[in-house]
């Protein structure tokens, strides 16, 4: 009785402070596939990311989220992470006084049935940091405290590498990155891609998709997915913009 291996979003309606932001999203992410969600600002992209991870400020009023057949709609964020979901934050929060190494070890041990030995943990962390071109001293810095934009995004990908989720949501991972940093981050993500992991890349610009190649592209405007396609849709959007998908304005 093997459950369906997929992250499935069904008719998802989400409200934030009395305003309905998502108005019925249907989307399925399969292991081994990269889906991109593109759309203008205010279209609901980040709401979708936070809702998937279970932020308490986002209320699901209708629909559900299934992870490999398990309904995670009501789960706390830590339970979702244990189930195999990961969110790379657009704006990662700093935790003063807590070192990256300590944070990562706690997170790794929290998401596994057996704790890893300190030695294995350090070895893996060093390897992953080297792939992301991070210096060793990075492990001793406080989580996101005083990090540059590029360091924050690399730190997010480092966490993803250490936690090895089944489904990863990357929320505007390209924002605030120069071209070199973007390449390092994209290389980091690509190194993690494989038949086991499904990825949902959320982005405003097509630029990131030059480095992380999507299998599918979806356009999110006004809380609904208004178009689906392959990589060519992203290129088309780059040329024509989102205007033709925008609802007619009242003005």
């Amino acid at each position: 009785m093997s459950e369906q291996q997929e992250l499935k979003i069904e008719n998802l309606h989400v409200r934030v402070e009395d305003q309905e932001i998502l108005k019925g999203i249907d989307l399925t992410v399969e292991p081994g596939k990269v889906h991109a969600i593109m759309g203008p600002n205010g279209g609901g992209k980040s709401t979708l990311a936070y809702t998937l991870m279970g932020h308490p400020g986002y209320e699901v009023t209708e629909g559900r989220i299934l992870l490999d057949g398990t309904d995670i709609t009501e789960m706390a964020p830590d339970e979702r992470a244990k189930a195999g979901l990961f969110l790379a934050f657009q704006y990662p929060h700093s935790i003063p006084g807590v070192t990256m190494a300590n944070f990562l070890r706690t997170a790794v041990n929290a998401t596994r049935p057996e704790p890893v030995s300190p030695r294995d943990f350090r070895k893996t962390m060093r390897e992953q940091m080297a792939l992301l071109k991070m210096k060793d001293e990075f492990a001793g810095r406080y989580v996101n405290e005083g990090f540059s934009g590029g360091e924050k995004k690399r730190a997010e990908i480092l966490q993803m590498a250490m936690l090895q989720p089944k489904y990863a949501v990357l929320d505007e991972t390209d924002s605030g990155l120069d071209i070199d940093a973007l390449r390092i981050v994209a290389d980091g993500v690509n190194a993690l891609l494989g038949p086991e992991m499904g990825v949902l890349v959320i982005t405003h610009y097509q630029r990131l998709l030059n480095y992380i190649k999507p299998d599918y592209v979806h356009v999110l405007v006004g809380g609904r997915i208004v178009a689906n396609g392959g990589p060519e849709l992203a290129l088309e959007l780059e040329r024509s913009g989102y205007e033709k998908f925008e609802p007619p304005s009242a003005a």
Binding site: D78, F89, H93, F103, T106, L163
Partner: protein
């Protein structure tokens, strides 16, 4: 509590006349001074009426068991243990004693080194006239701690005192006197601890430190009382020219604490670092009044007190920077940070500047905030359960104080203690 009881105490310990007289004078002050009330500025946020002084017995025999909250052992230069104000154990490594260092209970010191003790004991730093509870301490104290470090001597290993209170319905009178002569260095760690007690008890403590010219004292004072214990104490350090104190106050357990922590910077170039960590759970109430008293010119003080509170715990911080006339070139800093983990926890910071000199720099800041839900969400999104995420944020909150705490060897003990307390709540 009576005058006869004070006399009996002096007779029982066969005390020298000057000490017996001092006790009786203190008793007189106690009797004459009014019980503080909430109308007094000092007691605005701590109701002294909650303390049933007349139901407390000022003596008790040692009983029960106590354990060092910091779980320190082994590598110390000396250790004094007392229970219910009775000294039960004391030690000092020979090589330290050979340098002329005295580390013993205050009663023994008063008999064996009367000149030294008489010169310093409750004369200048804290004297019985400052208030009713200091007077009560001066009348009834027993046990206590005396540290004397001669000129130029450095004591490398920490010296410790463990003050235990093991019964309900009693009052103890912890008393610490630290004297560092010019150029001396020492680290002193004291822990106040009690098991759960069935009724209200009180520790009315006094602490005094004299830090000579160019001397350096590291002073760690830790409170881990049970929920029915009151602590009303005053500790004051006087700093000589170019001397330094690093002073960390930790409170991880109390019923009601009303404590004054004061430094008097009396010598030019003196430096005081004052640090505080307060963890409050259940209905713990801690009320700290700090004073950074700049008496000599070109003195520096730097204070950082942090509290994290859950349940219905309350934390009061009243921090005063005083710069007397002529103390130009003073550099004083004060920060009080509070984080609340529950709806009913509350913190009341009030900074207070009294500046009578020109050319000084004094800055202060206080904040009270709830625990950051976005930080919790971020940690939880990595699979860390809410309780553990909260613990991580609070530990991180205290970490900058620990990083400034000068005894690196006990930092892990402090982290473990705070972690244990967070787990208990």
């Amino acid at each position: 509590m009576t005058r006869q009881a004070v006399e009996r105490l002096s007779r029982q310990y066969d005390e020298p006349a000057w000490l017996a007289d001092a006790r009786l004078r203190a008793w007189q002050i106690f009797e004459m001074s009014p019980m503080p009330s909430r109308q007094d500025e000092e007691w605005r946020r701590t109701n002294p009426g909650g303390l049933r002084l007349d139901e407390l017995v000022p003596f008790a025999e040692p009983s029960g068991q106590i354990e060092s909250p910091l779980r320190l052992d082994g590598n110390v230069g000396g250790l004094i243990t007392q229970m219910n104000s009775v000294t039960t154990d004391r030690s000092l490594q020979d090589h330290i004693a050979e340098d002329g260092v005295i580390f013993t209970d205050l009663q023994t010191a008063a008999c064996e080194h009367p000149d030294l003790v008489q010169r310093y004991f409750m004369t200048e730093a804290v004297n019985p006239e400052i208030g009713k509870f200091a007077a009560l301490n001066a009348a009834y104290w027993s046990g206590g701690t005396f540290l004397y470090v001669p000129r130029g001597v450095e004591v490398v290993l920490p010296l410790r005192s463990l003050y235990g209170l093991t019964e309900g319905g009693i009052a103890t009178f912890g008393n610490t006197l630290l004297v560092l002569e010019d150029g001396a260095r020492a680290t002193y760690i004291e822990e106040y601890v009690s098991p759960e007690v069935d009724r209200q008890s009180l520790n009315a403590g006094v602490g005094e430190a004299y830090v000579g010219q160019g001397a350096h004292l590291t002073f760690i004072t830790l409170q881990d009382w049970a929920g029915k214990v009151w602590d009303v104490s005053t500790q004051r350090a006087l700093l000589g020219r170019d001397s330094r104190i690093d002073w960390l106050v930790i409170n991880v357990g109390t019923g009601t604490t009303k404590t004054n922590i004061e430094t008097g910077l009396q010598g030019q170039g003196a430096f005081a670092q004052m640090l505080g960590i307060i963890w409050g759970a259940r209905n713990q109430h801690s009320d700290y009044h700090t004073v950074q008293d700049h008496i000599a010119p070109h003195t520096t003080s730097d204070l950082l007190y942090k509290s994290a509170l859950t349940d219905e715990a309350k934390s009061v911080f009243s921090g005063r920077i005083r710069v007397v006339q002529g103390a130009m070139g003073t550099d004083a800093y004060q920060a009080n940070r509070n984080v609340l983990l529950s709806e009913k926890a509350a913190a009341f910071p009030s900074p207070n500047l009294e500046i009578e000199a020109n050319e000084v720099r004094c800055t202060h800041g206080a904040t009270v905030g709830k625990i950051d839900q976005d930080q919790l969400f971020y940690l939880m999104s990595r699979g860390i359960p809410r309780d553990m995420a909260t613990r991580i944020v609070v530990e991180g909150f205290f970490e900058d104080v620990l990083q400034r705490e000068p005894v690196a060897s006990i930092r892990d003990n402090l982290r473990d203690l705070i972690g244990r307390k967070l787990d208990e709540s």
